[in-house]
Symmetry: D2
Subunit: 135 residues, 4 copies
Amino acid sequence: MATKTEVSAFIASEFPQTKCVVREVGNRSAVVAHEVGLGELRPGGTVSGPVLMGIADAALYVAILGEIGIVPLAVTTSLTINFLRKPAGSKDVVGVCKLMKLGRSLAVGEVWLYSEGEPEPVAHVVGTYAIPLRS
Amino acid sequence: MATKTEVSAFIASEFPQTKCVVREVGNRSAVVAHEVGLGELRPGGTVSGPVLMGIADAALYVAILGEIGIVPLAVTTSLTINFLRKPAGSKDVVGVCKLMKLGRSLAVGEVWLYSEGEPEPVAHVVGTYAIPLRS
Amino acid sequence: MATKTEVSAFIASEFPQTKCVVREVGNRSAVVAHEVGLGELRPGGTVSGPVLMGIADAALYVAILGEIGIVPLAVTTSLTINFLRKPAGSKDVVGVCKLMKLGRSLAVGEVWLYSEGEPEPVAHVVGTYAIPLRS
Amino acid sequence: MATKTEVSAFIASEFPQTKCVVREVGNRSAVVAHEVGLGELRPGGTVSGPVLMGIADAALYVAILGEIGIVPLAVTTSLTINFLRKPAGSKDVVGVCKLMKLGRSLAVGEVWLYSEGEPEPVAHVVGTYAIPLRS
């Protein structure tokens, strides 16, 4: 298992371009937050789809690292996103991840994405990660 | 229907941050290419997942615009990606889209993503778009 | 909106081959239960995947009918299932559905499938339904 | 690798309830056919969704067995289906599978489903299988 501090440090060094901040990690779950930049907006002031996917991917990775410890070789194998509502371009996007399964070689989790402070989710993601065999 | 020139102009104005170039469009299909930037690399010299998703999303949108004409309000409703092989960070990523279905309100297509010049795909995407009702 | 009795009667007449019993419906959610038959088992005494998909599909349909009323023309447009644990062949399978979105033409929901009485889910499903335009 | 005869015999003993006939297997691909029964029809004379998913699942399994040999413990881990057109209840359903990836622990493939003799597919499936480690 890895603490919030350990996971945050690892994410910052491994993904220097990510803007996701780790808010919570542990208990097979994670919460991350992402400040939306001007380059991530779509016409109409909403957030582009790939940005949302990236936040969900980060939330999954953080939740997995929180359980298995710092394992650089875990990789996303699949991701399914359903877009539900337009996110507000002026608010942070928050990703709330819960792991459904943490097997020896495969982890599966879901992520709900929200515009900060809004009750209704803007997107839902299911993702799978391949975990390298550990000795 | 929209020509390659029309679609390219629309993409450039609507998505100024995209780096996708439209290579082909028409016949329910599209080919786009994306030059990988330094900020899009992951450790190990591969391309980040959200970048691949964005290229697939663009390929789908281009293929749909090629059929229905310039319709700004078409929006992605879902996207499923399977990551198959590590893309080379030093090569363009090429997205080849074919539409499976083009209904009145829903379009479904698949996209194969390749590192330029390589025979084996790096990822496969299925995406759906909601199309606004046309008069 | 439709009551549990109305939905149950409609399901029984429209899908005479289904064995799903409607336990709850309303509030954008539904619970259905399915008694596993001998012909639905796989070697090892577990339940076949297509049977699980059918139960999830029924749970989604019930939840949607509970909101929009008896609409025979709603059809599944996509379904993504992740298999998490082996279900027990000797127990009913219970499907718990919550709708994520109920738009004018598209509904999206998730379903957790359980072996009756077990705390951990055996599968997770996200499905979308196309809803015919209503006057 | 396993021949068509070997795969057919294995499928018949392991899945006695399946009606899928193996038409072709090899070269990372498979073709299966399924005769639609009365109990598999939906109102309007079309084929129920779970039946289509089962055929796709069988096609994937056959294609994988054709490559790795008879491995009883390979299991489906996820499946995404998009329904494209109504299948004809009076025609066999044919599943054409191609594997996208065959790794050491994970196989990914796509399946196009057709009503026999029709040019346009009725559904598209992407599925993943976990493959047990081989010595």
